[in-house]
Symmetry: C2
Subunit: 361 residues, 2 copies
């Protein structure tokens, strides 16, 4: 099967059913649906830990919140947008406070950013992009580690609840790595437990891609030992890279459309995306395309076509050969261009006063 | 030989000449004396790294500074006072800025303090004691890690210049320790390099007990790789514990007089201290005492008798049997009682506004 860990996701096809078994999580199907949120409705959220407990707390009117983290390796792309759209959907659905933590420290110690300054600039860009994506500024806190260094105190508080053997077992690090990399899992656990540290014990939900589950398992173990409530998690399927493969990534050029991409260049990337079409137009008219193979169709559904019937019609037409690859690409390109053109000025606006949105020590 | 590492100093007698060879440091004798400072004059500073470079910078009128660190396991004792008297002596002699870092984070992750709150309270007490010992408040900065968490950013900056293999080789930690303990050496390196980070490259002196040399070596290696000037160090002999043995320690009850001790109890501790006397008064009058064996004489010389001739007379009289153990103990007890009685109200005064003396993020 595909190799999944927080630092390496292979390009082989991912067997999500098998992941549920291997990671010891629960299939989401066991606790019903959230029909207002596309990610649930269309089966992109496939697995969870204690999500039922989280929903119960909300049902009972008790305090609950959401936390999710983003690495500061550079601008967000449409893969991040997809995750953040889910978090924004949950925030709106349940009117929940959200904590967004941006790990510029990890971006630097792992070499994803060349300097701390670069990592911090990335982090501020990401913060502005998150706000522009639609988080409610009144119910959302944004934490950048280099700015909110107090997170170190909580990490130190949690540290004696964990051993280096556990870090090794979960991450498989070797001793040629630097101390900051080995320590970082405790910083991330501190992020996840910060809402309870600041506002008292409550059920916290961590929406993550499945490759981040090891972080979450460590945080859950530490939470239990340190007297916090174990956080809940929901796991999402990855959106594929533009040219196929398991995941968008900065390290695979052309695999992702970044949210700071020039809209005209983004159009070109859309036109190069993987489709599920036939070798010739004639064949596609006759045999139809394979919508499951088409990244173009996947992106249209995930990012732009919210109406299920409208999306079903697109899929059916594609299968029937009524819509050709060129047309789906044009459709995606128009959507992406239009989105970026209205999104990017909003980001610039938030960037002007970004410090006022950041948590400070 | 005695086993020396930052976390364990054995009670066997310490062979300082051998330590110089083993640690690869230079004997202080090679660079002359600082006659105004008792610690140099009486041979308590026995070894160094690049202290000649430090003195040269001062001679040339160039920027130089001192940094030293204190663990926040509890109140300072007379062993710490002895080290701090040296730092204060150097500050006065050369009119130098001093950075004092108090590691309440390490006190907690190593279990020397039961909670972060306790460690922080210890740290504030220590800060007040340091000021009361006589540091110049205008030229001294005091940093407590839980208060100045920005130190985490510098630690992260330095982290990629070092590997876990190096930490293991220097400290011999095993993987059952917690991640904060393994990370702490990088925090300490950050302390040592902070003066250069904040004020540009310059020669920094780190006066330390020899058991702290591994921290210093790591900081020197990292300094070189990260483009700072390698810090200089001078190494002090330990003052012995009250009952003998290699070092005062909180973990050996009765081995140290703490600076927050009730003066009356401190008097009792003095009366129980190790002497170099004979089994009977008659024998001591006849054979004389061994001043090198007497902790009482050692403490009198280190802490209270600044005049070399006066101290020499005491030693000679003791050797000749003219002064008995009881008299030396009484003399020490009166000095200690008088010191604590005037010192402790000063500490209380500094404690009232201690926050105004601490570095903030």
């Amino acid at each position: 099967m595909a190799h999944i860990d927080p630092f390496d996701v292979s390009d082989e096809e991912i067997d999500y059913g098998r992941l549920i078994k291997e990671f010891g999580t629960q299939p989401i199907s066991s606790i019903g649906n959230l029909p207002n949120i596309k990610h649930f409705r269309r089966g992109f959220v496939f697995s969870h830990r204690d999500f039922d407990l989280f929903l119960n707390e909300i049902k009972k009117g008790r305090k609950a919140s959401i936390i999710t983290g983003i690495n500061a390796s550079g601008s967000l792309h449409f893969g991040h947008k997809w995750t953040m759209d889910l978090v924004i959907g949950l925030q709106k659905e349940f009117n929940l406070p959200v904590l967004l933590t941006i790990s510029d420290d990890e971006a630097y110690v792992t070499g994803k950013a060349k300097s701390q300054e670069e990592a911090f600039e990335n982090a501020k860009l990401i913060a502005a992009q998150l706000l522009a994506l639609g988080f409610d500024p009144k119910k959302t806190r944004i934490l950048i580690h280099q700015k909110y260094t107090k997170i170190y105190n909580l990490a130190i508080k949690l540290s004696p609840r964990c051993t280096m053997n556990e870090i090794k077992a979960i991450y498989g690090f070797d001793m040629s790595r630097n101390p900051g990399q080995w320590f970082y899992p405790i910083i991330q656990a501190a992020d996840i437990l910060l809402p309870q540290e600041l506002e008292g014990k409550h059920q916290v939900l961590v929406p993550i891609a499945i490759d981040q589950d090891p972080h979450l398992r460590l945080a859950r173990d530490i939470a239990e030992r340190a007297g916090y409530i174990k956080p809940s998690a929901i796991h999402m399927r990855f959106l594929r890279g533009l040219k196929g493969g398991s995941k968008m990534s900065k390290s695979k050029p052309g695999s992702a459309i970044f949210l700071d991409e020039d809209p005209k260049k983004a159009v070109k990337l859309c036109m190069q995306a993987l489709t599920g079409g036939q070798p010739t137009v004639e064949e596609q008219r006759k045999l139809g395309g394979d919508p499951d193979k088409s990244v173009v169709i996947e992106y249209l559904g995930a990012h732009f076509i919210d109406d299920d019937n409208e999306f079903k019609k697109l899929v059916d037409d594609y299968k029937a050969g009524k819509i050709l690859d060129g047309e789906t690409k044009q459709l995606l390109a128009r959507h992406v261009e239009s989105f970026l053109t209205s999104f990017q000025p909003k980001v610039e606006e938030y960037k002007k006063n970004i410090n006022s949105y950041l948590m400070v020590d």
